[in-house]
């Protein structure tokens, strides 16, 4: 327990440069805001990486030194290089935790790990979102009540094009009449994956105390237990084979 968990917060960091409203809410970027509150947990060592850095900030060294990666993307999924995506996928399968945020439902890395479209309904209009905690004994929901509300968020609605989750943690209610599986987990290889819906760039979602608690919980939950690269070995028999 003495070594801190090494966390990398990845974000596109584009809306913040293009839209003053977003920059006002997140002056150090969405990644900066997330890194700031995660950094308050003394058991976490938090760094950041962004799209426009070399190799999107996710060099082999950075990935090798990352236990849990958070991923926020929206307008530039297509600019993320397939090579980096392949490396991130490999690291997840080796054991790195991955937390996929909001519009990153359509990121290459999430689609690769799920194998599905990851499509959904959406409406870029201010709505109230009420997140129901349907798994109150899961480590990710520790400390939450039965539900909490975000007074201003974008809407995402079902159907959500994902494989049946290992465990469903949150279902969202929207004033506009929709529902959404807004928090869900999957094991992929030796890594744990958590998708969490809220986080539209024009609302102060990552400043919300419940959101911060959930993501901090999720980082701990997603910590690796091993680093293990699966191979496909030719192996000798353990018992005598039948006569040919």
């Amino acid at each position: 327990m003495s070594n801190p968990l090494r966390v990398t917060v990845w974000s596109e960091f584009r809306h913040e440069k293009l839209n003053p409203k977003v920059a006002e809410i997140y002056p150090t970027g969405i990644h900066g805001a997330i890194a700031e509150f995660l950094g308050r947990d003394e058991h976490l060592a938090v760094g950041t990486a962004t799209l426009d850095e070399r190799e999107h900030g996710l060099t082999d060294d950075v990935l090798a030194a990352t236990d849990v990666l958070l991923w926020w993307g929206h307008m530039a999924h297509g600019e993320v290089s397939d090579e980096v995506v392949a490396k991130v996928q490999r690291r997840v399968l080796e054991g790195m935790g991955l937390i996929v945020l909001h519009s990153a439902h359509y990121s290459k890395i999430f689609q690769r790990l799920m194998g599905t479209t990851c499509s959904l309904k959406w409406r870029e209009a201010t709505d109230k979102e009420r997140l129901w905690n349907i798994a109150p004994s899961h480590p990710i929901t520790a400390g939450l009540g039965e539900y909490f509300e975000l007074p201003r968020e974008e809407m995402y609605g079902e159907p959500f094009g994902i494989p049946e989750p290992d465990q469903l943690l949150f279902i969202s209610w929207f004033t506009g009449g929709e529902v959404f599986r807004s928090g869900a987990t999957w094991q992929r290889g030796h890594g744990r994956v958590f998708y969490f819906r809220p986080g539209h760039e024009t609302y102060p979602t990552y400043h919300d105390a419940n959101i911060q608690r959930i993501l901090t919980n999720a980082v701990h939950w997603a910590r690796p237990t091993v680093r293990m690269a699966d191979e496909c070995p030719n192996t000798p028999p353990l018992e005598p084979l039948p006569e040919a």
Copy 2:
């Protein structure tokens, strides 16, 4: 029930050309052997496609007219074009059934749909495989007994790098001391996926009556219920939104 189910059997068709032993067992190719026994079912309309055809025989027209695709590959996974793989994946997510055979555990299409390595242990030495039917009420196991044996097969052993199956149907016992999850199902998008382990090219596995029964059952089980391409629509509210 009047329209037959349209089945396409895809195979690399390389070992058969390079290895006389394989050609002797499968004179019309592995795809030919599979198409032959599936074709005995009057409810199935069966075609074939192979790697060296144009677009690997999987043109847009062929894919659009395929309800269930079977896939056998081994030595040339890397030669399958990424574009064709993307099209096949899209068709599965729209509803087409996919049956993945033996060494196609390492095919691009299976890895894409699973999101994992799909790695395993193997031993290219003749072994006896006993497949235990652990889901005797599943449609794919209809008509089978508690187990059946293949007197000569290649060994595949755990761990198998797949997501937890929706349902596990078969577990194999090998004389050499290994076990394997040799039949398993997953839903991906609107399509059903079945992986089935046996089928090494140097043994007459696809001439075995139990294997033929399972694959015929599986084709019926994997039939599409819809053809539906998920989009990601912007949608108007169904109820009044809160005041901004």
Copy 3:
């Protein structure tokens, strides 16, 4: 396909006798209304059974001749004999399909098959329920649109004390602010189980066309593939045992 599927609709048949409002909506009982619309499907042979009949109408002969059982109960769960519940459970595990309706979430048979509390939130006040179809390619949702509405229903809310479903089919939105996993499936032994939320006795829910379609679909989906009573047999070895 020539033999019809044998369906038994079980209901408490108490509210109908005690509350004139319920009797007006369901003059032949809730079971009567369900049996009536299922009976319009020529492939179904439908009977009914109720609490106050001998053995609750579920004698050994009736159960042996039932392929799919529907269960509606509410005010008298405690009056259902443990012996009958044990027999019904045994039949489900042998392959009989079971469709659990509305307040039967708290029935002995559902709790027995789930192993959990099956508790939930509720509010006996008229609300509008919108059921989102999150599995549009599942046989139970065939013919439905993206969602449908019940203008007047009782509310059930999360958390719902069930094991993670094999597949989640519907999520409900309520005007009052709640959500609910209102349609879900589980395999138990050789039998298929479907829980479906709507159906409060004071509203004409079972006269709704979408509800009728879903329950008709569900009966077909839940049809048995086998009748198989698991035993726990002592079995001889298939291979030579090691020297003692």
Copy 4:
């Protein structure tokens, strides 16, 4: 982390009194042997309980003070009172971990939580069991290799009458030709359940280092996160209801 985890090891403690061979292997009982090795972990506070004690040693006070319960039974499942079983089930659903050992696959408590027969094949003849670790990154398998062997055990074979596990951890190979899902997990209510196959009373299985490691890991994995008794509350609306 300062408060130890409170563990209760429950066993029938009958074979040990009736069969000198068993008594020789387990002079303090199977529960005594398990309690002894768990007690070497300084983070665990371990007690025992047995069938012939008052309320089988599982009084309300004992259950309230138990975080994780291990259960070994075989010849006297029928003597366990339904009332105690109901209390244990309630505690699991509230959050208590439960580890079900070997022949306790047929215990009332396991059948209640699974909802199924929990039947299997068996052969009371000495066999070698090789347990394949198919989930090397799960906390329960920490520190194990790819497989380990028990040179002398009873055989259990598929099909095993359980609901599809949340996660399958071990598959066993037996010399006699069978396979078995020998380690599997399920969430039930707020509690975690682990079934682990080995442990026949006439073999020194609980003295094996790998078995001890697995059960110690499992106790930590099964620790409660909450104590929460689900109720079924009538709740007021959070939003205005539609006009009646």
